[in-house]
């Protein structure tokens, strides 16, 4: 089972790398931030797998904080750093 956990964690890490390509190429700012969101979810999965492999319970707390903080960064992007002009009428 240990091997499976670690293999999956490795697979998800590679998955992260693939998602990185979208950050570089993404035409709009939203695409880039989207990939940031991908990072959050995948990192939570990797952490949970590592928690099971090493038996270190604390990693689940790290995953919990990750899940929460990914949302805060994304909201910060939406509310502040989205700079393209609002074309149609602002609600």
């Amino acid at each position: 089972m240990q091997i499976l956990y670690l293999a999956l964690a490795l697979f998800l890490l590679v998955n992260l790398g693939a998602g990185m390509w979208r950050v570089l190429r993404g035409p709009t700012a939203a695409d880039r931030m989207l990939a940031g969101q991908l990072f959050g979810t995948t990192a939570v999965a990797v952490l949970l797998l590592l928690a099971q492999t090493t038996g270190n319970v604390a990693l689940r707390d790290v995953a919990l904080v990750f899940a929460l903080l990914a949302a805060v960064t994304a909201v910060a992007f939406v509310r502040r750093a989205w700079t393209e002009e609002r074309t149609n009428n602002e609600s």
Partner: protein
């Protein structure tokens, strides 16, 4: 490798497949909205499956509870952020993809 190991292995591999699908969607789909759609759905289901796979192995119900809490939070955050990004994109006039 007793039956519960097989079950959790199957669940987690399925989860990984969903993650792969999410990333492929992110790379292949033509516009923001479809990528958003692919990413949010696939990854959350992927994480759900991985969490269930781990829950089967979990040593106590408290751990299962914590894992589910983490998953619910990711679902909540993922869904609302996806909506915010989509609304923001619409307001900024990012065109939907047409064939």
């Amino acid at each position: 490798m007793n039956p519960s190991d097989y079950l959790s292995a199957a669940l987690m591999i399925a989860g990984a497949v969903f993650f792969l699908a999410g990333t492929l969607g992110l790379l292949r789909f033509p516009d923001v909205y479809s990528r958003l759609h692919a990413l949010t759905k696939a990854d959350n289901v992927g994480l759900g499956l991985v969490v269930m796979g781990l829950a089967v192995q979990a040593e106590s119900w408290a751990v299962v509870g914590k894992l589910l809490l983490i998953w619910l939070l990711v679902l909540l955050a993922g869904a609302s952020v996806a909506h915010l990004i989509a609304r923001g994109a619409l307001e900024r006039g990012i065109k939907l993809w047409r064939r």
